[in-house]
């Protein structure tokens, strides 16, 4: 789901209540006690890795949603793609792709983008039918997404709708990472002198910067894969030292 225009990108609030500096182990223990929905309780029970775990050893899962629109209040999820990975290996064997019957109307505007039609969703399961399995895929892993707010907000909106609870988890945002890397480039005097623009942090542009191949966009599974490869490239480039801790890049 990487079709946000510039305005949408700016309007989207970044790091909300939980984020950098959070003690995730403690947070998970606390949430485990509070959670009521069994699969969510189970998810928290599994815990999360400690902040000093090397990036190279961190179990990850790249996640992407296609949605009916941009507003989590009025739009909903139509497909979920995910693939298990580490920064060394992406495992296509452990990938999943669901088409979801959206809770809200499927808008023509979004159909054009993700190509999922009314007939595709007619027999598709609703979100609550895949929720437990989705949580199983996420448990014990750090989520990787390009522009994570979309995934986090739509996921929480759907959870709230179906089970009346929300979820928190550590997450790596490849878009935020790229913004961070490119900021250091952007500010040089020479670049401003040359009038060079801020490098684009759209997924396709980020990928080409690392010489990753072009993939067609807006299939949740392909986008999850594209995001997974981007993280591998970012880490290989900016954190070549195998001992860098996961806390350097998660939030």
């Amino acid at each position: 789901m990487f079709y946000l225009d510039k305005k949408a990108l700016q309007d989207t609030p970044n790091n909300k209540p939980v984020g950098k500096g959070v003690n995730w182990t403690g947070e998970f223990a606390k949430r485990h006690k509070q959670a009521k929905y069994p699969a969510l309780k189970q998810y928290y029970a599994h815990g999360t890795i400690s902040a000093d775990t090397p990036i190279a050893e961190t179990p990850l899962v790249a996640l992407d949603f296609e949605t009916t629109g941009l507003n989590p209040k009025t739009d909903s999820i139509v497909s979920i793609g995910l693939v298990a990975m580490t920064v060394k290996r992406i495992r296509c064997q452990e990938a999943q792709h669901w088409i979801i019957k959206p809770d809200t109307e499927l808008k023509t505007k979004s159909v054009v983008i993700h190509g999922i039609t009314h007939s595709d969703v007619a027999d598709a399961p609703s979100f609550n039918r895949v929720l437990d399995e989705l949580l199983q895929h996420l448990q014990g892993k750090v989520v990787v997404a390009h522009h994570k707010d979309i995934e986090v907000r739509f996921l929480n909106s759907a959870l709230k709708h179906y089970i009346g609870e929300e979820i928190v988890f550590p997450c790596i945002d490849t878009m935020a990472l790229e913004a961070r890397f490119s900021r250091t480039i952007k500010r040089t005097f020479l670049r401003s002198l040359l009038g060079q623009k801020t490098p684009s942090i759209r997924l396709t542009d980020c990928r080409s910067r690392y010489r990753l191949p072009y993939y067609r966009q807006h299939n949740a599974l392909t986008d999850a894969l594209a995001c997974a490869e981007l993280l591998q490239a970012q880490v290989a480039t900016h954190y070549p030292d195998d001992t860098s801790p996961i806390s350097a890049i998660w939030c």
Binding site: I90, Q93, E94, H97, L212, P213, Y215, L221
Partner: protein
């Protein structure tokens, strides 16, 4: 649970050997892929490590090294590596390093081995190091015959004339005359593309002979419908049958015309004359035309037929030895006919002589792009003042004639027109003795050309005597052989290909490669040195190599490898020239990698590697002072 990644599947589907896999297998491979990213300069496989995966390059490029750090190969998108360790279940022998930022798809050992064990085509393609693959790619087709290997459809020149049953014989005859054909087909489905009916597509055939014997001879009216004189009970041939089968059908059913069907649609009509005409384009026919030519103009006019003959042999999958010797026979015939004509023009020779062919023609390895290397051996009674004017005229006549027939003048002046190469036998013996006893850089180059010599006209026994002299003097002559070996190392093969470039061993890249200079010539040079060292008879590289193999001076298996390498390189060169001819271009020896298939690239790479290894061995074997 495996969910297929479309981008992975699409990519694999575009590249061999995955493109040959059936959909379910491909899907299975794609859904099990693992993916890894490597920064430029970072190691992917290190020497001695265990390898559990087969690597397919999705984007970027890598370099493969030998253990000693020498560059072995450079691979790009769609290429693969790591299969050797998997096939042999051994630790990695060739380390791999990312040359550019590289994304690789990894296929696990089980999936790889499964494909490798169960899919012949897949295994063939992957088995880079197994030299037997090269052998299979250049099979010996000794009993090759045009009629046996060419399909009927090759003979079809135009669509058949098809008429409806009610046509009168007169109208039919008019149409046959208009179209310039000697036969026509009668069909119920005339002009009807709908093949749903169960009727036979063709109900009869009418030939010139039928009109004569069944209409005119019987005094029938011209308005008689063609159905009255047509032959039913048709003998039919399918377009994908061999010309040989068509000929057998004609003989068996005593017919002279065969309708050709493709998917039950008539697409042509072939006659026994078509078959005869096709057969007659072979080299024997060209040779016959050469000897029938009455003057140089007529000889020069045969240039096109030589090219047609060459292209046809390539079409028929003849091997390089067949093509090389056919072209050499033709070249020799041109020389012989020119000498006959010259003797008619200038009168009989004052003293006996022998005209020599040198180089590729003498080795029976001539192709279509070739210059003339020749020389004259004169009787020892030769008196320059008395005789040389005659032989000068004769040499000029022949060399000018050869040039007009497509054999360009030798740039190095190695022609009988050059006084130095128009000498009595005793001088030639002195030349050769001196070249062998006291080699200089210049005479070594001469040795490489003149020591492949063949008498084509006159006192051919002198050519045999010179060959014997060379064999005797060079045999086990370690000093001379060391010099020849050093000379034969001047031309080396490239490393292989990378993207659309030729890769040199030092990492340089060029746009094209001269297949003669970098391929066939260095192999011929190398084989000549070995052949001289063991006194092997024969001038053709393949027969020399057999002698070398019999003498057991090469490490086991290397001789056969070398033969396959020569055959493959020669065939790539030959096919390239045939392609140039087909495209109406002037054929040359320069090959651009972009026109090579993946299969050819891989095999060429193997062949270059074999040549390179053979050169290293030659360097070692003929070290100065080493006892042979």
């Amino acid at each position: 649970m495996a969910t297929e990644q479309v981008e992975v599947t699409d990519f694999l589907q575009r590249h061999k050997p995955f493109s040959d896999l059936a959909a379910p297998e491909l899907s299975h491979v794609a859904s099990g892929v693992e993916i890894a990213y490597y920064k430029a300069g970072s190691p992917i496989l290190t020497f001695g490590q265990d390898n559990t995966h087969w690597f397919v390059i999705r984007s970027g490029a890598v370099e493969v090294f030998r253990r000693d750090g020498e560059l072995y190969n450079r691979l790009g998108e769609g290429n693969f590596f790591g299969e050797l360790a998997l096939m042999r279940n051994r630790p990695v022998r060739f380390p791999v390093v990312a040359l550019e930022d590289t994304l690789v798809y990894l296929i696990d050992a089980d999936t790889f081995n499964n494909l490798f064990d169960n899919d012949e085509q897949f295994a063939d393609f992957v088995e880079v190091e197994d030299r037997s693959r090269l052998r299979e790619s250049s099979p010996d087709k000794k009993d090759n015959n045009a009629l046996l290997t060419v399909k009927v459809e090759k003979l079809i020149e135009q669509l058949p004339l098809i008429l409806p049953p009610h046509t009168s014989v007169q109208d039919a005859a008019l149409r046959m005359t208009e179209e310039g054909v000697s036969s026509l087909l009668i069909s119920n489905e005339y002009l009807n593309d709908d093949t749903s009916s169960d009727d036979e597509p063709v109900i009869g055939i009418v030939t010139d002979v039928d009109i004569r014997s069944r209409l005119v001879a019987n005094g029938l009216d011209l308005s008689t419908p063609v159905t009255d004189i047509m032959t039913t009970q048709l003998t039919i041939v399918q377009s994908n049958q061999y010309v040989f089968e068509a000929m057998m059908l004609m003989l068996k059913h005593k017919v002279t015309h065969l309708p050709v069907l493709r998917k039950s649609k008539p697409i042509g009509l072939i006659s026994h004359q078509d078959i005869l005409r096709y057969e007659s384009q072979n080299s024997l026919f060209v040779v016959k035309s050469i000897f029938n030519a009455q003057n140089v103009d007529e000889l020069a006019a045969l240039k096109d037929e030589v090219q047609t003959c060459f292209s046809r042999m390539v079409d028929e999958d003849a091997n390089s030895q067949m093509i090389g010797s056919a072209m050499a026979v033709i070249g020799r015939s041109f020389k012989q006919r020119l000498l006959e004509l010259a003797e008619e023009e200038f009168g009989p020779p004052p003293i006996p002589y022998c005209f020599l062919a040198l180089g590729s023609m003498a080795r029976d390895e001539q192709l279509i792009v070739t210059d003339q290397d020749n020389a004259l051996v004169l009787d020892n009674r030769f008196e320059p003042k008395l005789h040389d004017a005659y032989f000068n005229d004769l040499a000029n006549f022949v060399c000018d004639g050869l040039d007009r027939c497509g054999y360009t003048y030798c740039k190095g002046g190695i022609m009988a027109t050059n006084k130095k190469w128009r000498q009595p036998l005793k001088i030639w013996e002195q030349y050769f003795t001196q070249w062998i006893d006291n080699p200089t850089p210049e005479t070594l180059l001469h040795s490489a050309i003149f020591f492949d010599l063949d008498g084509v006209w006159g006192k051919k026994v002198w050519a045999d005597a010179l060959n014997r002299l060379i064999r005797k003097k060079a045999f086990k002559n370690s000093r001379f052989l060391a010099c020849m070996a050093r000379n034969a190392l001047l031309r080396t093969p490239p490393l292989g290909f990378f993207k659309d470039f030729v890769m040199e061993t030092d990492g340089r890249q060029t746009n094209s490669i001269n297949m003669k200079r970098r391929g066939t010539a260095p192999i011929a040079d190398l084989i000549r040195v070995h052949a001289l060292s063991v006194g092997a008879e024969g001038r053709n590289s393949f027969s020399r190599l057999n002698g070398v193999i019999d003498a057991k001076i090469l490490p086991p298996g290397r001789g056969v490898d070398l033969r396959d390498a020569l055959e493959f390189i020669a065939m790539v060169r030959i096919r390239h020239q045939a392609f140039d001819l087909e495209m109406k271009r002037v054929p040359d020896n320069d090959i651009e990698p972009e026109y090579l298939s993946d299969f050819e690239r891989k095999n060429l790479r193997d062949a270059f590697q074999i040549l390179s290894d053979a050169q290293k061995y030659m360097k070692y074997r003929y070290q100065p002072g080493r006892h042979l």
